[in-house]
């Protein structure tokens, strides 16, 4: 009789323990998903920050980098260089090699610079957008696109840096 009572108590105890563990597990899974989401948002900010400060495309005058300004000639050169299949100047330079080099930083993302005023033009900086994805975070940064071949008064144009990060 006493034994049966003990077993019944234990049974109830383990049922309560199991339910608590299930509840805790669900809560934990939710917090992990939240952490992953937060991490993904951070990744989007990191890539946007990185692109807007790349010496490869940022305006420079005697090696002085200008904040929030991209050089049109550098953008054109970059587009030719990093585009998949683009020919390089030799082994280890340009083309797929260059794309792979920047892939370690930009991962699954698409980076586009769009000139919006006075003209509308688009430069694809990097495109590694996966066909199937769960989520995409776009980040837009307004900036100046400077064309050093034009007269000083018409060198600057208004543009937007669009960074789309996928997962």
């Amino acid at each position: 009789m006493q034994m049966a009572e003990t077993i019944a108590v234990l049974l109830v105890f383990f049922i309560i323990l199991g339910l608590s563990l299930m509840f805790y597990g669900t809560f934990q899974a939710g917090s992990v998903r939240e952490a992953q989401k937060e991490q993904f948002e951070k990744e989007a900010i990191r890539i946007a920050l990185l692109v807007s400060h790349l010496p490869e495309v940022v305006c420079s005058d005697n090696n002085q980098m200008t904040e929030n300004c991209l050089d049109r000639l550098k953008l054109e050169a970059w587009s030719n260089l990093v585009a998949p299949g683009a020919p390089g100047d030799g082994p280890g330079t340009g083309g797929d090699e260059a794309f792979l080099f920047y892939q370690t930083d930009f991962r699954d993302s698409k980076v586009v610079v769009q000139e919006v005023f006075p003209e509308t033009e688009q430069y694809i900086i990097y495109d590694n957008a996966p066909k199937d994805f769960k989520e995409m975070i776009p980040t837009y940064i307004p900036l100046t696109i400077r064309d050093p071949t034009k007269p000083p008064q018409s060198q600057s144009a208004l543009g937007v840096l669009a960074v789309e990060v996928y997962r």
């Binding site: 034994m3 490869e56 005697n62 054109e76 050169a77």
Partner: protein, 397 residues
């Protein structure tokens, strides 16, 4: 007596005898039932205790398991958070120059390899960030510092990491004016919060273990080929002591711009032995040329030659790509340039940078002029850029 009487009666009356027999049997049976009950109760009590003990042990084991799992999970989560923050710190440091920060981190071993850095079992990719750090840091504080690498156009920001638990000794010969000057300059250039001391070559013999996690000896222009390990550091773990020898290659040449070589050393027993790596060609190298102030500072921070060479290889790959972009830009400028600017754009030697082979830098026997050529080309480019400003042309970089 009673038995004898009853037996006598039984003999006389068989019926009564049978009744007596039954009564005795019943009595005996009831006695044995009571005994069984008592024994069973005793066994029950014992089994109950054993059962409680087993179940108690099972519950205790279960909770101990849950606690240990939870500790492991929370450690992993902490490591993941730290690494995620580290990634943002590295990005932040990578875009601002001359920044010096102290970051609080949990005192868990933070390991650095060529491609990634990790804590416990979690790792993060370094990407293209040019990072110079000890192979392992275990401290509550992480010191970060950033410098720019221009050659002469901007290539990348170099990020340096260390901890206050790593002590650096800048060892120089006071009789050698150049070494003294260089040591003083290096000491004032490195971050203020860095745990560093200047020591003359005579004082260096007396260096002892002061309880630091690691000790890095930086010998400035040492006269001897072999470096001597201070006796006070001989008892330390081999991984805790490393050295760098900055040797002047060419008299009169700028030590920062290709005029010096950087030799990496590791403690092995009672000696400092050169740290070498295998090249793709199969030979072993342990010396790297100084490619500017930033890379030279990097050699002070990185205690492993493999890590240093890998970081420099990344920086050079990036330099090649940026040189190609500048080259294309110069070509476009050339097509639209006014006659006074044409010369600068047509002779800008960006292609020399784009075609540089990183292997040539570590193998100066096969490619003896690679480094001096790089810096002379850099000088030409610097002059050309200066001239574009004088001629009111768009600058080359």
């Amino acid at each position: 007596m009673e038995t004898d009487a009853s037996e006598a009666t039984a003999v006389s009356f068989p019926m009564i005898a049978s009744l007596l027999q039954i009564t005795r049997s019943v009595r005996l049976l009831s006695v044995s039932r009571e005994d069984t009950k008592r024994t069973k109760a005793q066994v029950d009590v014992h089994f109950n205790w054993i059962f409680v003990l087993i179940i108690g042990a099972v519950i205790l084991t279960f909770f101990l398991f849950v606690i240990s799992r939870q500790k492991a999970v929370s450690d992993q989560r902490l490591a993941a958070d730290v690494l995620a923050d580290m990634e943002l710190i590295l990005t932040g440091q990578g875009i601002s120059v001359g920044r010096e920060d102290t970051v609080a981190i949990p005192e868990l071993p933070l390991q650095f390899t060529c491609d990634d850095y990790g804590m416990l079992t979690m790792t993060r990719r370094i990407g293209n960030a040019v990072l110079f750090a000890p192979s392992s840091v275990e401290s509550e504080r992480l010191l970060t510092w950033t410098q720019e690498w221009d050659i002469p156009f901007k290539v990348s920001n170099l990020v340096y990491l260390t901890s206050p638990d790593i002590r650096y000794y800048l060892i120089y010969d006071p009789a050698d004016d150049m070494a003294t000057q260089f040591a003083k300059e290096l000491n004032s250039s490195l971050p203020e919060r860095m745990n560093k001391r200047m020591k003359s070559i005579r004082e260096a013999i007396t260096i002892t273990d002061e309880g630091d996690d690691r000790v890095r000896l930086v010998y400035i222009f040492p006269a001897e080929e072999r470096l001597t390990l201070p006796a006070g550091l001989r008892n330390l773990n081999d991984k805790a002591v490393s050295a760098l020898a900055i040797r002047k290659d060419l008299a009169g040449a700028d030590a920062y711009r290709g005029g010096a070589s950087l030799g990496f050393y590791k403690k092995r027993g009672d000696q400092l032995e050169q740290d070498t790596i295998a090249t793709p060609r199969g030979d072993r190298v342990g010396v790297y040329p100084s490619l500017g102030k930033g890379p030279l500072y990097g050699a002070v921070f990185a205690d492993d030659f493999g890590l240093y060479e890998c970081s420099m290889r990344k920086a050079i790959r990036r330099m090649k790509l940026i040189a190609m972009i500048h080259n294309q830009r110069a070509n476009t400028l050339l097509t639209l340039a006014s006659p006074r600017c044409v010369t600068y754009y047509s002779i800008a030697p960006f292609t020399s940078f784009a075609l540089l082979n990183p292997d040539d830098l570590t193998n100066r026997i096969r490619a003896p002029g690679a480094v001096s050529e790089l810096f002379s080309t850099a000088e030409i480019l610097e002059n050309l850029n200066r001239n574009t400003i004088r001629a009111s042309c768009t600058t080359l970089y």
